[in-house]
Amino acid sequence: MNLAGAQTFWYFYIAIMLLFVMGAYYIIASFNLIRVLIGLELLIKAVTLLSILTGYLTHNEGLAQALVITLIVIEVVIMVVAGGIVVCIYRNNKSLDTRKLKELKG
């Protein structure tokens, strides 16, 4: 990897890693189901950026874009399904509290 590339990678790398940490922290620490999904979105954003970055660095933008487009479609569907599950949970529990999801244990 040449010097300029390494430089670019380095900055993006730190930002992406911190975005990962934020997303993971949000998922683990928040008590609201929708916030959990937002945390998940943050993680996926970081991955998207990483993919594009690797494509950019290896001059392989075409493939990287193709992958990212597919990835975005899949991401949307997962969010839709997750949203549906969260709405159903709300209808059942009358609450979005994650701490009420402890029925199955042991």
């Binding site: 900055y11 979105e41 998207t48």
Partner: protein
């Protein structure tokens, strides 16, 4: 490069705001902001098609999905909100600390980037790649959209009383 740096900082700030804000709707707006910044970054990384997709689908569609989901559920009352705010303060002040520590760790353990970059295939037109080389993914996209449709049909239907 400087613009990239500013955008990255903006990305992190938007991310932190998304995590720390009290109102759910604001959090969704924060996510949309993150998405927007990401799509600008993608655009600047020579990937216009993906940037357009990211902007329209993620910043747009996903925000709509979240707002819809929130509208299906009830908002909190003002007092509960106040309680929550206190709760959240206790919980979330760790995050900046963790981020700073993690950032320092990343800087200290900087990975060596001396590996050679691979030779890449000559075909670089995204549309060509999607339509001619990655049929299987295309099939997967159609299929997962179908699955999503079934999901919406099954999960969002109002239960019969």
């Amino acid at each position: 490069m400087a613009l990239n740096l500013i955008l990255l900082v903006l990305l992190l700030v938007a991310g932190i705001w998304t995590v720390l804000t009290t109102r759910l709707v604001r959090s969704v707006v924060g996510l949309a902001l993150v998405s927007a910044v990401v799509s600008i970054l993608i655009f600047r990384l020579n990937s216009p098609l993906a940037a357009a997709f990211e902007l329209s689908v993620c910043a747009g569609l996903i925000s709509v999905i979240f707002v819809t989901t929130i509208s299906f559920t009830q908002r909190l009352t003002a007092e509960r909100l106040e309680e929550r705010r206190k709760e959240r303060l206790g919980k979330y002040w760790y995050l900046p600390v963790i981020l700073i520590i993690f950032g320092i760790l990343l800087v200290v353990f900087k990975p060596k980037l001396d590996f050679p970059l691979p030779q890449v295939p000559s075909e670089q037109d995204t549309r060509n790649i999607i339509w001619h080389m990655r049929h299987v993914d295309l099939l997967g996209q159609i299929l997962i959209i179908l699955a999503g449709v079934f999901g919406v049909v099954i999960l969002f239907k109002e239960p019969k009383k």
